[in-house]
């Protein structure tokens, strides 16, 4: 059916925990209840995430990337009633985005000039090598690992990803993270623990898929 969002089966295993699923279901419930902050939370996290995903595959076509992402996000919002939380929300967006990209090239009667993730990694390594020299294999692995870490963060519920970035990249304290999430320090600590476990699980599974 045209416009139908298909959740890709194998990715359901990326659902890491009951808590992560409940986080996303809660976000979707708040969005469906018309809560402005829930929409902003969704937009802050998922639009850049799906943009990164689309931009990786449509390199050199910023206008098309923008159109595809806009169409993806709008369609997912239109069909939010159908979200049951079996798979991470990002996977839903990801599946829709893939359909949008495929649909675009089908309509245009052309083949997508996708940049394969491996090819992209290779290019990054080559580019880095050209500039500074070094071990190509190590650079390749490093670039691949960076992509996987970023992809893993994109797969997490928004609050999980933000909490991890605040703690490990910005060095914020649990008290500060609690203040930003509007929860007690104890609840923030608990959320960080769940976020770390979800991160580890998704990262490991993405690593396995990538081998």
């Amino acid at each position: 059916m045209a416009g139908q969002i298909v959740t890709v089966g194998p990715f359901q295993e990326l659902r890491t925990s009951v808590e992560a699923a409940e986080e996303e279901r809660h976000l979707v419930r708040r969005m469906k209840a018309g809560e402005e902050r829930a929409f902003e939370e969704f937009a802050d996290h998922y639009i850049p995430g799906i943009y990164r995903f689309a931009a990786n595959r449509l390199q050199g076509e910023p206008e098309l990337t923008r159109d595809i992402v806009q169409s993806t996000v709008c369609k997912v919002i239109e069909k939010l009633d159908g979200y049951r939380g079996e798979a991470p929300l990002f996977v839903w967006l990801y599946a829709c985005c893939r359909n949008e990209i495929a649909g675009h090239f089908r309509r245009a009667g052309s083949r997508p000039s996708f940049v394969d993730p491996d090819e992209k990694t290779l290019r990054a390594a080559e580019s880095a090598l050209a500039g500074q020299g070094g071990n190509p294999e190590a650079l390749l692995l490093q670039s691949e690992q960076e992509n996987l870490v970023h992809l893993t963060l994109d797969h997490l519920p928004p609050r999980y990803a933000s909490a991890l970035e605040w703690k490990y990249l910005q060095g914020e304290s649990v008290v500060e993270i609690g203040r930003r999430l509007e929860v007690s320090p104890k609840a923030a600590e608990s959320l960080l623990t769940r976020a770390r476990r979800s991160f580890e699980t998704i990262y490991s599974r993405l690593m396995e898929k990538n081998r």
């Binding site: 969005m31 469906k32 209840a33 018309g34 402005e36 929409f39 902003e40 937009a43 639009i47 850049p48 995430g49 943009y51 990164r52 931009a55 910023p62 923008r66 992402v69 806009q70 996000v73 709008c74 919002i77 239109e78 939010l80 490093q142 690992q145 960076e146 870490v149 970023h150 963060l153 994109d154 991890l164 970035e165 490990y168 990249l169 623990t193 770390r196 476990r197 991160f199 580890e200 990262y203």
Partner: protein, 323 residues
């Protein structure tokens, strides 16, 4: 069950991975804001009911029920079909020449013909949640909840909230898709100006395929069915008449961002922020008080001043900064 050692291990491995990878690449801010605005419009249309509309229709429920009951009884006793459904309510009246014959809150039934005199403008809230505005010297018939006939003058339809409303004219039926547009009878021609989204014309004569006009386009349909296309501005002075009958919404408890979105939509502007910090703060600042009795320009100036932001409008873009 995981113990403290495992927690520490997880903490360290997560730290190492995140720090080695660094922050996620950001996307261009203007692209993010543009997509966010489109997505927000879809989200609002799908899940948010305008507070004013909700209140009005809650107030109207007993009356609507009474009308439905009356219609049923009429059909039962005299064999009439039930057409007496409320399809719109008068939202605002502006008349510089005294009484217009309408008052805010007045219900309008299917089949009602509405006329505005010179120097009188009318805004209707349709039952499906759309806003229909009538310019001076206009005549329309409200056929049903999703169909209006334009017989004289010009109308502006904003169907962000609610299902599309088809507008029938001598030239054909204009079917919008999530849009803002103006339709005007000019002599023997029909002029369509699309501000947002797109509108399809199903012509009464000729043209088996619907003609489609998109945002920023004008389509003139002549009596012989010929079409003439042109480009138009989304915020030029030709749109100003629609501001005569808008009421600034209540802002209490709303974010600055949502107020700016409303203002930009009414004026045909796009919104840009001077910095990512200003964009973030606009989503966090909660407004209090009321500016609903002010003109749109006064309301904007008041809100910006009181919330500590500055703004300027340049080439159809509202640029918002935080000094």
């Amino acid at each position: 069950m995981k113990d403290e050692t495992t927690d520490r291990d997880e903490d360290e491995s997560t730290r190492e991975l995140l720090q080695a990878a660094g922050p996620r690449p950001s996307m261009p801010l203007d692209v993010l804001e543009a997509i966010r605005n489109e997505a927000r419009a879809v989200w609002r249309a799908r899940f948010v009911t305008e507070p004013g509309t909700r209140a009005r229709w809650r107030w109207m429920m007993p009356l609507a029920a009474a009308v439905c009951a009356a219609a049923f009884l009429g059909w039962w006793f005299v064999g009439r079909t039930s057409e007496d459904a409320i399809v719109a309510v008068v939202a605002r009246v502006e008349s510089s020449r005294g009484a217009s014959g309408f008052s805010a809150g007045q219900p309008l039934l299917a089949g009602a013909t509405i006329e505005t005199a010179d120097h009188a403008w009318l805004a209707l809230s349709l039952a499906g949640g759309q806003s229909l505005r009538l310019d001076e010297g206009t005549k329309v018939t409200l056929i049903s909840v999703d169909s209006v006939s334009l017989e004289r003058g010009g109308v502006y339809l904003d169907s962000l909230h609610g299902v599309p409303v088809t507008i029938a004219t001598v030239a054909g039926d204009f079917v919008p898709a999530g849009t803002q547009f103006e339709l005007r009878l000019v002599g023997d021609a029909v002029q369509l100006r699309v501000r947002e989204g797109q509108v399809a014309l199903k012509q009464r004569r000729g043209g088996s395929e619907p003609a489609v006009a998109r945002a920023g386009q004008q389509l003139i349909v002549r009596q012989d069915g010929t079409l003439h296309r042109d480009q138009i501005g989304r915020s030029d002075a030709d749109w100003d008449w629609i501001l005569a009958v808008i009421r600034v919404p209540e802002i209490e408890g709303r974010t600055l961002q949502s107020f700016l979105d409303w203002m930009a939509r009414e004026r045909g502007w796009s919104v840009e922020f001077g910095s990512s910090e200003a964009a973030r703060l606009s989503r966090e600042v909660i407004l209090h008080g009321s500016v609903s009795e002010m003109s749109p320009d006064d309301a904007l100036n008041t809100v910006m001043l009181s919330s500590g932001f500055t703004h300027q409008v340049s080439n159809g873009t509202l640029v918002v900064s935080r000094p």
